[in-house]
Subunit: 532 residues, 2 copies
């Protein structure tokens, strides 16, 4: 039997579980050791250690009323809950709670697609709706709308949006939180609140206009623990006539500066509509000279360009992106893009894929870079950090945000490359990805293991980079639950006033501190001293 949450007697815990059974029915309360292992974080950097976070039970409601019932029981017993939608975000903690002993509220049964409007290009979904679910619904019903999927696509719209994840299609949809329109939330007190226009009972605009009247509260329900979101609207992309995927390459290391400046300018003007990935194919692999350069912390451009020349003249950087729209508009945009980049000596332009929509099932299956066309897939699970590297046991994402400047990308790769090398790891930096209008996310995979000694090294690496990147001006945009306290410390200006505001909100909205204690380092009053 799993242990009860801290501070709860075995007897009260069992009584609470029986009441939860009363709410959801016996078959939807999971409380054996085998049950709760299913909610374990398979990539945990604390795997098998005393501090690893475990659920004490899980409960799977099927309706808003059942969620309210669960919250009521939790308030009565002081039972910590940990709501998850699909719980599939493995590199950010998966389904395991931030606070050991929490009862996972598994929302997978609430998986109804409540509304899709082809005319308005919107949908309204429940927490358990996955990217695959919505994609299949649209294809089956021949609705000419695209989703913007996370990659891999097995997660769900709501969880990813609330965690502020990103995708690959047009700018309006890539920032998944920004692409939402309207929420329904069960507050920790059990009250149901609809946000935006949803608070006006007859409104025809709940999925059309974000704000409603008065303060716009939606943001406080992202990356937090202020309620259980039970419905969420999203804006969807109308299927374009056509798409053209291109690759722009530049030969020298410092060419990334004009490359990124120009692409950023074109993105801000919507001339380049899609996510832009800036990668250095040269920087992957384990060639000894490469390893030396990456670990040096500041090899010169000349050294790097010499290395590139010896590597057979492959371009140093490649930018990948897609145009969506009418064919003649695409042609004009691509032509203008080439003109704007023509000043970089040795720049290369290549059209790598081209589509007319709609695609047949066979054509959709054959698309190489599926996420760029709103097609969810699990292809990423086949990838590794480097061509010849062993498969990872697991990893955490480490993603500092930098200004969209080539010199920042170079400085970042210099810095993290050296940290990885100094601490005995192979650098894992994959690419700078322009998901958002004015920043570049720099993904790094930090490996996790199934043994404590290696995980201690990994945790040290992770902490070093979080602190080091913050000091250099590049804070992260989300972080694994095990490191959320560290993460929020990095946002500690004015003596931690933002964090204090979070906890002020927590005390007001969740007076008994029952929803996801500790998530993003927001502790309810009753646990604050003991956990800090």
């Amino acid at each position: 039997m799993p242990s009860p949450p801290p501070g709860l007697s075995e007897r009260d815990f069992q009584a609470a579980l029986r009441e939860l059974e009363g709410v959801v029915g016996r078959e939807w309360l999971f409380a054996t050791d085998e049950d709760v292992l299913l909610y374990r974080d398979g990539y945990s950097p604390l795997w098998g250690e005393a501090d690893e976070r475990f659920a004490s039970a899980a409960v799977a409601p099927s309706s808003v009323e059942q969620v309210q019932g669960i919250v009521k029981v939790a308030n009565q017993y002081g039972l910590p809950l940990y709501p998850i939608s699909t719980g599939r975000n493995l590199t950010y903690g998966g389904a395991a709670p931030a606070y050991s002993g929490s009862v996972v509220v598994d929302l997978k049964r609430m998986n109804r697609i409540l509304d899709v409007s082809a005319r308005d290009k919107t949908c309204l979904v429940e927490p358990g709706v996955s990217y695959f679910d919505l994609y299949r619904h649209l294809r089956t019903n021949k609705i000419p709308l695209w989703i913007d999927t996370a990659d891999p696509g097995w997660g769900g719209l709501m969880g990813n949006a609330l965690d502020r994840g990103g995708g690959y299609t047009d700018i309006e949809f890539r920032d998944h939180f920004d692409a939402h329109c309207g929420m329904e939330v069960v507050l920790p007190t059990g009250e149901v609140v609809r946000t935006g226009m949803g608070a006006s009972p007859q409104a025809k605009t709940w999925q059309l206009f974000k704000y409603g009247l008065g303060p716009w509260v939606d943001g406080i329900f992202s990356q937090s623990n202020f309620g259980i979101v039970t419905k969420m609207g999203f804006w969807l992309m109308e299927e374009p006539q056509a798409a053209l995927q291109v690759s722009v390459t530049v030969p020298k290391r410092r060419d990334v500066v004009p490359l990124v400046d120009t692409l950023h300018s074109l993105m801000c003007a919507h001339t380049v509509p899609s996510q832009v990935t800036v990668a250095s194919p040269l920087m992957a692999g384990n060639n000894p000279e490469l390893v030396r350069l990456r670990g040096s912390g500041g090899a010169s451009d000349a050294d790097w360009d010499r290395f590139a020349a010896n590597a057979g003249g492959a371009p140093f950087w490649a930018a990948t992106f897609v145009y969506y729209g009418p064919s003649k508009v695409i042609a004009a945009q691509w032509e203008h893009t080439k003109e704007r980049l023509a000043g970089i000596a040795g720049v290369g332009f290549r059209e790598t894929a081209s589509y007319k929509f709609p695609l047949t099932d066979e054509q959709a299956e054959a698309v190489a870079d599926k996420a760029r066309y709103g097609i969810p897939s699990l292809n990423l699970f086949g990838s590794r950090t480097a061509p010849n590297a062993p498969p990872l046991e697991g990893h955490m994402d480490f993603s500092p945000m930098i200004p969209p400047h080539g010199e920042e990308l170079i400085a970042l790769t210099d810095y993290t490359g050296k940290v990885y090398a100094d601490q005995g790891f192979t650098p894992s930096f994959v690419a700078g990805m322009m998901f958002h209008p004015r920043t570049m996310i720099c993904f790094h995979a930090v490996p996790t293991f199934r043994n404590a000694a290696d995980n201690a090294r990994t945790r040290k690496l992770f902490e070093t980079m979080v602190r080091g990147c913050t000091e250099r001006g590049w804070p992260i945009y989300r972080i694994h639950p095990v490191f959320q306290k560290l993460g929020m410390e990095m946002f500690g200006r004015d003596n931690g006033s933002l964090h204090r505001l979070h906890e002020t909100l927590k005390d007001a909205i969740d007076p008994n501190g029952i929803v996801s204690p500790g998530r993003y380092d927001i502790w309810p009053k009753r646990l604050r001293g003991t956990q800090a």
Copy 2:
């Protein structure tokens, strides 16, 4: 001498004012009758009546520290404050407080443009920076960035954004709150909080990435009273190569359905980048047959089309919008637009203006439709609701939000036309304006007067339309302070749970209830009973 705020003795009020003088210096505390009249709402629908809202004094700080000092004094004495940035939003209450007796915190002296980055296309400003200020700064320094101005342009970026106002250029900038990136707020307790990446002391991304880590709190500071915002970042538009302004006309009343559907689809795909205004030139004026049709509440399409034919064959609807970008992309987008709209019998396409940028000062001065090119102006003050109507003494904006559907626009004009007529007013509906990606704002001017009898009629008209539009599914997106209680009642689903959440937040963030009591009907605990 102005009266002290309710509940404060004359003696305590005078003591508080002396302390405020100590914070800002004698010349920046305004406490005579003449002083506070400057903060009167010239368009008040309660003009000269007992309930008209008056300030008791005003105080003009020059720094964040002085704002903190003011807040400290207010907490000590229970002094209600009413912060304004430029206070110029006349149709939404101007500079007058929501709660009579409040001390206006006039932030006009804090008018520094703290940062402009041409490379990143961002700025950071203080509350008093007006659209004119920033426009002049950019022109003087030849920075190739555009602002997105409200119209008229005498207000300021911050106040307009916090009120969730809108503009006319590209979609990324028109929703002024959405175009902000990063805030600094003085909380009612005096603590300073920087939001988003600003909470990370060395971050290079405060104006580049909106969210930071943990809950995103920015939204709660819009249309609310939870703090005094002292800095705000914004995204700016890179000056395009060219622009083409066009007009698309359709002959029959029901043609507005395919017209709006198609333009909405093109807007969602960024093929049409600017705000789209859909107006009916035919529906302005006071021709007796027009007045009869507008007041009928549901004249048939045939009746209307007959009226249009008799009016000399002018088109029924005209849509106005602008393409921004490289000339060849604009040409392809306009061509595609025409193809998509070609199916509407009798559709007309006209190019009404065309520009290459940058403009000389003379060219800029000659631009007719300035707000569409980021040029602030006061031209709107020369306009009237109907060609031969007398100038208004004042007016309030009444702006229901409808889905972007032509039939909703028709239903709305039928409904509000009849309400105006039934209550003895000339209908004022101007246009359906697609500021946001998936809604149309339908502006109406509701006249205000300088006499109580007419204002009583106006208040009845306003209330009737607020309630009637809400019942029909078209709630408003902001509302004059005198009607904020009514407005929030329209967002009363689940027994008013959203409003209760607002007041829960208020009690937590502003325990003494000193900032803008009553704004958007959010009352602090100490005033709640007395004001409801």
